[in-house]
């Protein structure tokens, strides 16, 4: 250790101070940093990428024995794939942020960032960027496995892929923002996964990820309709299932308008809650 910094230091700031880096630029820089960090945590990668694939394999195999179908020409693998896409997005956005942010807060990482000129918005942008990259990789892997191992037909028109794109992006953004909003709830990093996991599991069961949604009791369908996962799954079904399968929905249609509205509403709620409750420091830290 030497004192070479002395030569590079100046005592006073010149009159025309250099400008602070912009929030967007810092958001991109944070996203780059976060993505690199994510791909170095091998255990998390295996879980996040393999979970929807394993679930698809289990449920498609169990329900689809002896060539059983949900409806004419709709095998179980095809019916469950949209739900798995939606649940994968929920995992890599909501669950991963709602757990990782309290852990970062506990470890002192957020307090360190709070002491720098990094704006909170750039931190959030970085998180959203990381979630977007991870979700794209995850869903791509899931679709490849579904198409090659389970012979699920991929959408054939640009319009369907367009629907896929907006449901996916809106779902990722909503999940990420709600994850940030939820992250102030766990009291510590250690309790975070205990608090978050049941919420995610219950949503998965009532939102038609693991069961055919139309078979669920009406009250359960109504409860699920309040939350974004049901709408993400339904939006994805409109992409991967044939047009006639809309008849299987309780409403008898894909309800794209309602899907967009509910997801947007949660996006706004998550933003407001996130901005109002986010803190750099632990609760017990003054």
């Amino acid at each position: 250790m030497t004192a070479t910094t002395a030569s590079t230091t100046r005592a006073t700031r010149p009159g025309s101070a250099p400008r602070l880096p912009g929030t967007l630029r810092l958001g991109l820089e944070r996203a780059r940093y976060e993505v690199r960090g994510f791909f170095r945590e091998r255990d998390a990668i295996v879980f996040i990428f393999a979970y929807p694939i394993i679930m698809l394999a289990i449920f498609a195999t169990v329900f689809g024995q002896d060539g059983a179908e949900v409806a004419d020409g709709v095998p179980f693998a095809q019916y469950f794939l949209p739900g798995m896409v939606a649940t994968g997005v929920l995992l890599s956005s909501f669950q991963s942020l709602a757990i990782s942010i309290p852990v970062e807060r506990d470890e002192g990482g957020l307090k360190r960032l709070g002491g720098t000129p990094l704006p909170a918005a750039a931190y959030f942008l970085g998180k959203v960027g990381q979630v977007l990259v991870v979700s794209v990789v995850q869903v791509a892997l899931l679709l490849v496995v579904a198409a090659t191992l389970f012979d699920v037909a991929m959408p054939g028109t640009a319009a369907l892929w367009g629907t896929f794109a907006w449901v996916f992006v809106l779902g990722v953004a909503t999940g990420a923002v709600c994850g940030v909003g939820f992250s102030s709830l766990p009291r510590s990093g250690r309790s975070a996964s205990a608090v978050v996991t049941p919420v995610v599991l219950v949503l998965q069961f009532i939102s038609g990820v693991f069961f055919t949604f139309y078979d669920l009791p009406t009250w359960m369908q109504q409860v699920a309709s309040v939350f974004p996962l049901k709408w993400m799954a339904q939006g994805m079904r409109s992409v991967f299932l044939p047009e006639e399968a809309a008849a299987l929905e309780p409403s008898g249609s894909w309800q794209h308008g309602a899907t967009a509205a509910v997801l947007l509403a949660w996006l706004v709620v998550g933003l407001v809650v996130g901005v109002r409750t986010f803190r750099w420091r632990r609760r017990d830290d003054g």
Partner: protein
């Protein structure tokens, strides 16, 4: 001194947690370019005070100016002018030293060269090592690197050398002295009196939420606190006397009882250390200006 010469000016600062007055009328001024060490027992209000200065906590009363601004309302531009090294944390595990220093440099408008900073904190050989594989001392130097890469005018160091071996501590002191020579103002909290003595231009002792003494390490506690103690043996008993002029006393003793050789039996000239003075200042009985009782004094022979 007006606010242009002061990096930190605190008057009448108060902060309560429930019934407890953590900070209770604290005053402190730090001039630009100096190193001030804040000493005090755990729970005295050091951390609360420093975190109010850093903008992490809100105050209940009093006036605080840090680089001319109120930390409670200051924005990003102000943040870019200060550097903060918090107490030990275990974040940042998966990133390498070089990635982190370069990454944090991008937060600031006029950062130091990240590679020069890595050299300055002595982590060149560890630049490509992930944080989780660093030793405690190396992690601490990384913390400092991240705290100074933004070229701060004012640097806060919270117990920077806890857990260091002596060699690492001395190397760290050289690093901090280099920053001071470059014009950086430093506010340091520490439990190590030798660290305060070595680094600080002035020492502020905090007790029960107030500054009870602030002075140079040599003059802390006033002259009487540093009066020399002369001990000798006379007539088979140990004698001692506190004095401002030990040389004169020793000369007189040599003449009186030194005999032909001039040797005074059992002669010791002792001076209270900073630690003795500090312990006297934070003693619970409130005898702030009192001289530490010689019998309790851990002493250091005058060289």
């Amino acid at each position: 001194m007006d606010d242009n010469d002061l990096a930190v000016r605190v008057t009448g600062l108060q902060k309560r947690y429930g019934e407890k007055r953590a900070v209770d009328g604290l005053d402190l001024a730090v001039a630009r370019g100096e190193i001030v060490a804040v000493l005090g027992p755990n729970g005295a209000g050091k951390t609360t005070t420093v975190e109010i200065l850093e903008g992490y906590r809100r105050r209940d009363a009093g006036d605080v100016r840090v680089l001319g601004e109120d930390p409670q309302t200051a924005g990003r531009a102000w943040r870019s002018r200060i550097g903060i090294v918090l107490q030990t944390s275990n974040d940042l595990a998966e990133a390498t030293v070089s990635e982190l220093v370069h990454h944090f440099a991008r937060y600031y408008p006029a950062p130091r060269d990240p590679d020069e900073v890595i050299d300055a904190v002595g982590l060149r050989e560890k630049a490509r090592t992930r944080t989780r594989q660093l030793s405690g001392g190396q992690r601490r130097r990384l913390d400092v690197a991240l705290g100074i890469v933004g070229r701060p005018e004012l640097l806060f160091l919270d117990e920077p050398t806890t857990g260091f071996d002596p060699e690492a501590r001395h190397a760290f002191w050289d690093l901090i002295a280099g920053l001071r020579d470059g014009g950086t103002t430093i506010v340091l909290t520490t439990h190590y009196l030798d660290e305060a003595e070595h680094l600080a231009d002035r020492v502020a002792v905090v007790r029960s939420g107030r500054v009870v003494a602030v002075d140079t390490p040599a003059d802390l506690g006033g002259r009487s606190a540093r009066r020399a103690v002369v001990r000798w043996t006379e007539g088979g008993t140990h004698r001692q006397e506190q004095t401002d002029s030990p040389t004169a006393l020793v000369t007189a003793l040599a003449t009186r009882i030194g005999g032909p050789s001039g040797e005074v039996p059992g002669l010791q000239v002792l001076r209270p250390t900073l630690e003795d003075v500090y312990l006297g200042l934070i003693a619970d009985d409130g005898t702030v200006a009192g001289t530490p009782a010689p019998a309790l004094v851990t002493t250091e022979a005058v060289r």
